[in-house]
Structures are given as C-alpha cells and as structure tokens.
Subunit: 314 residues, 2 copies
C-alpha cells in the first residue's frame, strides 16, 4: 500500500485510478490509503458544476478544462451520476471526453456512481478528490446532474459552486432555483442564445435581490455562456477566481473547509452505521422475525427500530 501512496503522490495516473477504485469499493485498505494521503491534501481548489439535466454542463466543463490547461494547471473532473446504481456505467458524454483528453497527462476525468449506501457517493467523491489533490491536481471539478439534494450535497464538498441553468426549462425549475439560492456562488445561464435568456436573468436577479446581504456577502454573479461556442467561459473562470479571492480573505476558506471536515466525519460515521443497520436487518434472525411481526401488525416499525437503537446505548 505504501507503494501506491508514493505513486499517487508522484502523480502516477494508473495509481490514481487504482486509488479511486479502492475508495469507491469502500474496502478497509482504502481507509489506510486515505489516511496516508491526508497530510498531502489541501492544495487543490474544488469547484462544483451542478444543475438540472439538459443544461450542457459537460460541454461547459470541457471548456473550463481547456482554459485551466492553458494556465498550466492540472485538472481533475469527477462526473457524479447519482442514477448509476442502475445504469452501471459512465455517462455517455464522459467516454467521449475521456478519449479527447486521453493523451494529456494534466487532465484526469472519472465517472463516479452511487454505491447504494447512504452517503456512499458523497464519500467516494470526496475521497477521489483527496486522491487527486494529493497527486498534485490544482483544480478538481465535481460535475453533478442534480436537483435539490444532490446540489446541496455537492455544495458542501467544494470551495466554489457554479449552478448551471438554461432558459425556458419550465416552472418547476423556476421554483427549484429558489431552493438553490443559498448554495450557488455563481450562476451560469448556459445556451444563452436561446429565447427566454433575458427573462431568466431577470428572474435570477429578482431572487438575488431578496438575499440577505451585508458588506461581507458575496453577491453571486450571473454569467451568460454559450459553452459550445466557447462564449462566456473566460468570464466564468474569472468569476470563479473572484470567488476564490473572496474566500481567501478574512479566513473564509479555512472556515468553509473546517465545516467540510465536520460534514465528512459525519458522513463516514453515518455511512458505517448504515452498513451496520443493513446487515442487522437482513442477517439477524430475531430482527427478521420482528419484521414479519410488523407486517402482521403484531408490532410496528417504530418499536422495532427503537429496540435496536436502545442496544447501542447512545
């Protein structure tokens, strides 16, 4: 394992891939690897690119990679697909992108799917980011197709969150935007040559106008992009840089990362306890009988769950 640690720190692509696979599998040896790598983390800047499907996030991320590569920065992309416990594979677009950058050692793209466990995907993604961080990647992008919970989860695990939307997605999305006001550091309206862009800008401005502000608040900029034509993408990386400067002043980045550490420890704990509960409910004979008794209404879910929790003496 020490060999793998050293190779990852040296930036060896195959070692990185193996390390992330270990982290995804949730094996005990992954924990040892991550403990060893931990002192080498903290230098990468983490960016979340999130938003509803159909927003052109993959194309946008592709252009960001290009800009960061021109700045000689190494870029890691973790494409998070919360549906893949079922699809069992990479998002189609990723394979195309991976091939495109296959000859560039400064770009690492990886699809991450849910492991089916509670918090499992969040954990694996954070672990993967740490591996890339330790391997010397300057920028790690979390790209997530998400509505609601997924967006919030990603926002907790990155330094800057870019919420990507497109004009004319309908009323549901307008409502969802309200729910993402608290997590978006930057808004990108992609496909901004589409009808409804102006309305989309006005609506976002209206939402922002009710945000509670003081002189310390970062007002999320609204950037219009047409990713496929590479329009507005330099403005977007500029806005990310501005937000980074904002975080770097007044100890805000340290504060944000300390909060993240707390979230990570929390997720590791609940993930473990979730696995324990799953095992107990499927393999313990007495518990299985209790479940049958719930079905026949001899007892109820709250009583059975309460008895199991009592055993933990917390």
């Amino acid at each position: 394992m020490n060999d793998l640690t050293d190779k990852i720190i040296a930036g060896d692509i195959r070692a990185i891939a193996r390390g992330i696979s270990l982290a995804e599998s949730g094996q005990p040896e992954a924990v040892e690897l991550l403990k060893d790598l931990y002192p080498h983390t903290g230098r990468a800047y983490l960016i979340g690119i999130t938003g509803p499907p159909g927003g052109g996030k993959s194309t946008l991320v592709d252009k960001l990679i290009k800009i960061y590569r021109e700045q000689k920065k190494k870029v890691g992309v973790l494409a998070v697909d919360p549906t893949s416990p079922f699809s069992g594979g990479a998002i189609l677009g990723d394979r195309v992108r991976m091939q495109k950058h296959a000859t560039d050692e400064g770009v690492y793209i990886r699809s991450m799917g849910s492991r089916g466990h509670l918090g499992g995907l969040a954990l694996a993604t954070s672990d993967a980011a740490k591996i890339l961080d330790a391997a010397g990647y300057d920028i790690v992008i979390f790209e997530t197709v998400g509505i609601g919970q997924s967006e919030v989860e990603v926002a907790g695990r990155v330094d800057t969150t870019v919420l990507v939307t497109v004009p004319g997605l309908g009323d549901d999305v307008q409502v969802l935007k309200a729910g993402t006001m608290e997590i978006a550091d930057i808004f990108a309206i992609n496909k901004a040559d589409r009808e409804g862009t102006e309305r989309c800008v006005i609506e976002l401005e209206q939402l922002l106008s009710v945000k509670e502000m003081d002189e310390n608040t970062f007002l999320p900029p609204i950037i219009q992009t047409i990713a496929k034509d590479n329009q507005g993408t330099a403005e977007l990386t500029g806005a990310i840089e501005k937000h980074r400067d904002y975080l770097n002043s007044g100890g805000r980045l340290a504060e944000k990362r300390k909060k993240r550490i707390q979230d990570e420890v929390h997720t590791i704990i609940t993930n473990q306890l979730d696995k324990w509960a799953a095992l107990r409910l499927t393999h313990d004979m007495e518990t299985r009988e209790n479940l049958d008794d719930i079905y026949s209404k001899k007892t109820d879910p709250y009583t059975v769950a309460g008895d199991i929790i009592k055993e933990l003496q917390i």
Copy 2:
C-alpha cells in the same frame, strides 16, 4: 394524544393536518401517535408520480384526483419537494390546487419539505401516508420532483411508480431514463402533443426491450398523456389498476410491502443515528478539538470517525 388518534381514524381533516405536522417535526409524541395508528394502516393504495422537473406532474395528478373522486375514492396527495429546506414553503402550484379542492373533504393535499436530516423527508412522507391511510384515504399519491436518488427513494415507498417524462428534454434525461428502468412500473409521456413524442416512445421501448423478462415480469406500459387536455389520463389510471391487479396476484404486494417495512425500520434507525452523530460533532468538546486537529493535519477524518464508531461497540 388518544384523542388525536381517534379523530384521525374518524377522518377529521384538522386532526390529520396536526398529525402530519407532528410527524414532520420528528417529536417523540409523533412516534407514539404513529404506533397507535399503525394497526389501522395497510388499506390505502400508494402511488408514486415522479420524474424530472417541467414534466407537468402537478397537472397530471390533478386529473387523477378527478378520476378517483368520480370513483368515490378518497385521495391524499403528498407533494414532496426535496429543495424546500431552503425555499421553506409549498410548491407554488400546490397552493392553487389546494384551494381548488378546499371544499372537497375527500381530497387532502399537502406539501412536504426536507427536514435536513438524513432520510428525514422519506420518513416524514411515509408517516404522512400512514396517517392518511389510517384516516380512510383509499389512494395516497406521492408526487415528487426528482432525478435519480429521489425517484428511487419514492419507488421504495409506494405500490405503483409512474415515471413521468416529456419529449425533448435533452440527452442528460435520456441517460437518466436508463437509470429509472428498474423503478418505473408505468411510463407516462406527458405533453405528448409535443415534437419528439414518437422518438421518446421508441427510446423507451428500446430501453424496455433489454429488460430481463420472464412470464412473471410486469412489462411497464408506455402511456401518452396530455394532462392539460385530460387526454390519456383514464388510460393511466387503467394502467395503475392493471399493475395493482398484478401485485395482488401471487403474493407480490405482500412481498413488496414487507420489503418496504424493512426499508422503513432501516430509515428510522439511520435517521436516529444521524441525529446522534450531528449532536456529537457539534456539541462534544473533545470531538470539536479532534475536528480542529484534522484541519491542521495532526489527524484525519477516518481516524476521528473510526474512534467514534468504536465507542458504539457494534
């Protein structure tokens, strides 16, 4: 509390509302209420209406309510909004609908928002369904705006899952559809007067053609609807009825509901343990110091989390 139990069983609307509010708040008295009500549950049929935003789910549900009311069935609707920890209110459309049915005692519509805790929304929604079930509602509809994880969660908590999609939502959605094949009992293509409907049908058929089938498999029908014009909605309730008949034969419904009981007990346990972990991480002095030590790289998240789990002796 016994008074509240009796009133809910008698179908008193205000008592139902109070019961659901209690369940949402996660108070210990809610647990007592739900224990009391549990023997009176099991008669309601639970339907999930889920899918990406912009699919016209609210309008579709509205038409389903109308059909079920004509059949003299009492209908409860739980509109699940996973983003509302931030928006803090009901989905706009719900208020309009609630007013529309305000004079009909046979319809109960309620918006449910996340409580911020792990599994909190799933738990509160299931509890609310039990309250409606005990109160004599024949049909309980879970309406969820969701991508990926939310859809899967809803599917685990209902008898029949209808996945609503619309033509031309873009490639991301096409991919997501693949991820939902396992959970959809019925596909509804809403806004089926739009361009791309034919392609959408063909794509779904292609996805279904690779599904592993034997004589016991229920092949999910693809229903085209134009909810706003009330087209295809009778076919949709017909398809739901067919799936219900399928579940009722060969003990499939019992099997599905037993699995659900297991999931519910699991969620109650993990929800409790999550609350415990949150408290520990925010209020225990020594743990707080450990978190600071992680930030300064004196230790790491895995070591700190591991030490806390060890205390539980599981």
